[in-house]
């Protein structure tokens, strides 16, 4: 699989990362190096082996259904560039 500059630009756009046009070539090359490495990994025969999802023998930790958090509107909003009447205020987005 080979990534061209157009694909690199699309991935950057989906991730909301601004990439200058002249940097796209290098970015595409980086992608290709990473994917090349993954292609190499895919040569390993993993037939019949369960995918490993963690390195420690742990069960997903659970929590009982109780309200233990929240009630801190001021803190939640404290980093917002703009907040009004308890809401985050953002540039208009309308469908």
């Amino acid at each position: 699989m080979s990534i061209d500059t157009e694909t690199a630009a699309r991935v950057a756009k989906l991730a909301r990362i601004k990439v200058e046009d002249e940097a796209l070539e290098g970015l595409a090359q980086d992608f290709n190096t990473i994917l090349g490495f993954i292609e190499q990994l895919q040569e390993v025969d993993v037939e019949g082996i369960e995918p490993m999802t963690g390195v420690t023998p742990m069960r997903l930790k659970r929590r009982p259904d109780g309200v233990t958090d929240g009630g801190m509107q001021d803190k939640v909003l404290s980093n917002a560039p703009d907040a009004r009447e308890g809401f985050f205020a953002v540039p208009k987005v309308v469908e």
Binding site: L14, R16, T53, G54, M58, R59, L60, K61, R62, R63, P64, D65, G66, V67, T68, D69, G70, G71, M72, Q73, V76, L77, D82, R84, E85, G86, F87, F88, A89, V90, P91, K92, V93, V94, E95
Partner: protein, 504 residues
Amino acid sequence: MLDLTFETPKPKVIAGAKHDWELVIGMEVHAQVASKAKLFSGASTQFGAEPNSNVSFVDSAMPGMLPVINEFCIEQAVRTGLGLKAKINLVSAFDRKNYFYPDLPQGYQISQLYHPLVGEGEIVVDMEPGIARVVRIERIHVEQDAGKSIHDMDPNMSFVDLNRTGVALMEIVSRPDIRGPEEAAAYVAKMRQILRYLGTCDGNMQNGNLRADVNVSVCRPGQYEKYQETQDFSHLGTRCEIKNMNSMRFIQQAIEYEARRQIALLEAGENVVQETRLYDPDKGETRSMRSKEEAHDYRYFPDPDLLPLEIEQAWVDDIAANLPELPDEKKARFVKAFGLSEYDASVLTAELGSAAWFERAVAEGGDGKLVANWVINELFGRLKKDDRSIEDSPVSPAQLGAIVRLIKSDAISGKIAKDLFEIVYTEGGDPEAIVEERGMKQVTDTGAIESAVDEIVAANPDQVEKAKQNPKLAGWFVGQVMKATGGKANPKAVNEIVTAKLGL
């Protein structure tokens, strides 16, 4: 288990300008889990709170915060799966669905694409007595809800409230087995009823706790059957998804409009473009959500913050053992145990509260059929008039049971029973005592009725002559006797005596 038999409804056919067309509909129902806290945080799920007050640092996606799953939410999704006769997957996993929107601070929604918690099930969608559609459920997965954007508070800004962010949703995905707008609405209604019976979702559509995305396509008659045989989607038309519907009426209108739009395109030789659309109830039309087109690449991948969710069969068995009686079973039992019509059984089992009320009244009054008539015709009508729910009915099951006992023992006539019901409804009190105190007892004493008939016969010789020519006029005498006795005479006895006295 008791089962009622039913036939499959005919699919809806829409006549286009050139041909007939059929509809194929699949639904994704988003049901909010009735939990106190959110799926991955300890913040409250309470509706209508101050904006951004039910928000933890996990929900607002502060750096370094990690999700911890709410076990109760998983239990509710398993319960829902069992209620839909679905396969429960003992191992499932969470994935990230990546997109940017102001009400999604994480930049991704935690969902289950590759390994959902619940697999295939089914639901019986009742259309009318004896007619129902079995709709296959493809899967149920557990996911986070997004926040809420408000666009009309300021001309230039959108306001974002994260209270709903991270609340647990069950996304219930059907196969494209629904064949018309009415079936789609009935599907949502049945789903809502089952969820409410199970107690896993309150089904409040107005608050958005139950909403549906509707996938609609059209095809020529015969094509759907080919799809059913082969499960090959190429036999079907291209579908459009109508997002976020939270009203049964709008679901029907939107499907109707969308089907006609697609038919018009196809008959004009154009193609249907697969896209997401929104229904505008004011204009009665669907329109394309262009902004979403580009964002369709969600780049799903397993969430590295969460280990796979492993549950034990014994835990699932325990949940299964504690499932309540579900609507289909309850309805079948009401039909068989009380001799009700399927229609009456459906009405009584629509809400769990009505079904329980009815059963308590039957325990008091005996005769399930008579109790059902009184509950459906008198009680429901009266409650509706006052805009009350069964939960705040002024008449208790014991009181209605007593009224029914009085009717059954011929102590009061049906007409008087209605007056009695109204007294109990408005004033309260013990029906038996009221009947005694107010002299409402039915006159079954034939002597008393006979003398009443004699008086009327003696006072109306002309009518007697006419009645001899035309026996139908006997009804006039019965009416007069009932009037003279204040409605308390046993109508059957009056009829017999009138007929005998007139020599008919």
